[in-house]
């Protein structure tokens, strides 16, 4: 899966958790989930679970804790995906 595809899919996953949809429309890799998108920090675990399901990966708690921006999430997910099946 291409990096852009992972990014776009993450944006889709984030949609229901974001208080201000306009902020998500202009998001880039540095967009902060809590500070910029106003995601309720309690819901981060739900975003992790939905990401695990969507990308068929497993994200452990320490990796989850390292995710602050959309770029962080994309990085963690890309690192988990099978490089053969996902040569990009």
């Amino acid at each position: 899966m291409e990096l852009q595809q992972v990014f776009d899919k993450m944006v889709e996953i984030l949609k229901p958790f974001v208080k201000d949809p306009a902020a998500l429309a202009n998001a880039d890799k540095d967009t902060h989930l809590i500070d910029d998108l106003k995601v309720n920090s309690a819901r981060m675990v739900d975003i992790i679970i939905e990401s695990e399901d969507a990308f068929e990966v497993e994200i452990d708690d320490d990796e989850a804790d390292s995710i602050e921006t959309i770029g962080d999430a994309v990085r963690v997910i890309m690192g988990k995906m099978d490089p053969v099946a996902n040569p990009s």
Partner: protein, 425 residues
């Protein structure tokens, strides 16, 4: 004007006989049963395979919530939230924007009897046992905490005076009204969103089925199963739903020109202490009578002033005892006994929601001047026979109706009684 006056200005209901106040009132008038056969209960080998549950709730839910919002709530919270927002609008109030200022003058008390067994049984227990705690997500706590419904409603409406849930078994909904009245009278709130809710779940009903307190022989004719005051009453029909009332101090309601359904003139709550024949599952009759007395005294009315009783009346062996307790508490002979009916004859027993749903029926009866029939008691119980002509078995126009007493009793030997009076502007 009564400086301690508390009035009802809004009603919202999700019930086995209607998911809005109009449909609910029409069903009450028609004597329409909301009890149905549930295949799921038969497959689970329940003895009682019937229940009174809200029908086509999705349609009511869509008035306020989309599918995703609903998927994050338990059934009990969704029932309460829909009923609360309906009641809020019914009171002529605007549902605020999410970033509106906090309404420090309004609070919520929305109780539940059993809590959300469905989430516990379907998600928590299997996921913990399967070692999948990290896959449970963030919503479990807010879904199973007993204050989940009041928390949801207070969040939507921005309520700041209080957000809590009471729990006193089958007395919960009625007790919530009493608690809210005290809060308003104490000057701690001008308005309260109050009531009870109970979700439908075999896991909730299983314990009652095991106790053999549910009817076993009406699975093929569910609409006749809930038979309060009948000689052939064979147990209460389990139910689910939510009832929410908007209570306001009289002055606030009058100042904003609110439509007033009725006045909550008197309230009382007590416990029989499980003494003198009282037990976990049976009332101390002295406690019941003291509770009724207390509500009358609080309302400043005499027994002869009570025109009608909305009983607890669940269709168990306790019905004749309840009627006797009312007669003794009021000190009246059968000929002078008030008219009496049971909402549960149509809805079944909505447990923690029952008292609130029945208080809504009471408010509608006073406001519109009628009494609903108590169905399925053609064969009156022999011990209630002396009171037979006082049992309302047909829809009755009653424009003179001025004063109605409503009581609920519950496991733990707990009692609550409300006296409603007609609002005569």
């Amino acid at each position: 004007m009564d400086s301690r006056g508390v009035v009802i200005t809004g009603l919202g209901v999700v019930s086995p006989i209607g998911n809005d106040v109009g449909e609910f009132m029409e069903s009450l008038k028609q004597g329409r049963s909301g009890v149905c056969f549930l295949q799921e209960l038969a497959e689970l080998k329940f003895s009682c395979c019937i229940a009174g549950t809200p029908k086509n709730f999705e349609k009511a839910r869509e008035r306020h919530f989309n599918e995703r919002q609903a998927s994050l709530m338990t059934e009990a919270t969704a029932y309460a939230a829909v009923a609360a927002l309906d009641a809020w609008r019914d009171a002529g109030l605007e549902i605020p924007e999410p970033d509106s200022p906090v309404d420090w003058d309004t609070g919520a008390i929305i109780g539940t009897g059993i809590g959300d067994m469905e989430t516990i049984a379907q998600r928590i227990v299997p996921m913990v046992n399967d070692k999948k705690v990290r896959r449970m997500g963030s919503r479990i706590v807010e879904q199973v905490m007993n204050s989940g419904a009041s928390a949801k409603v207070s969040g939507i409406l921005g309520l700041g005076a209080q957000a809590t849930a009471n729990s006193s078994a089958c007395s919960t909904g009625t007790e919530a009204v009493a608690e809210a009245v005290w809060k308003i009278r104490a000057g701690l709130a001008k308005r309260m969103v109050v009531g009870g809710t109970e979700g439908p779940s075999p896991y909730t009903w299983s314990g009652f089925d095991a106790m053999k307190v549910l009817p076993r022989k009406f699975n093929d004719r569910p609409e006749t199963a809930s038979r309060p005051m009948s000689a052939t009453a064979a147990g209460f029909v389990p139910g689910a739903g939510a009832g929410i009332l908007i209570l306001e101090d009289e002055q606030t309601a009058l100042e904003r020109g609110a439509r007033i359904y009725a006045k909550v003139a008197g309230v009382h709550v007590n416990c029989g202490g499980q003494r003198n024949g009282g037990a976990m599952t049976a009332p101390n009759n002295q406690g019941v009578r003291r509770c009724i007395h207390g509500a009358l005294q609080d309302a400043g009315v005499q027994p002869k002033d009570i025109d009608s009783i909305s009983g607890h009346l669940t269709a168990t062996f306790a019905d004749p005892i309840e009627v006797q307790n009312w007669a003794k508490a009021l000190g009246v002979a059968p000929g002078d006994f008030p008219l009496i009916n049971s909402v549960k004859s149509m809805t079944g027993h909505c447990l923690g929601a029952a008292g609130a749903v029945e208080s809504i029926a009471a408010a509608l009866e006073l406001h519109h001047g009628f009494l609903h029939p108590s169905i399925n008691c053609e064969d009156i119980h022999p011990e209630i026979a002396p009171f037979e002509e006082k049992v309302v078995r047909k829809y009755t126009d009653y424009p003179e109706l001025q004063c109605l007493a409503k009581a609920s009793f519950g496991f733990g030997d707990v009692n609550s009684c409300l006296v409603f009076t007609k609002w005569n502007a």
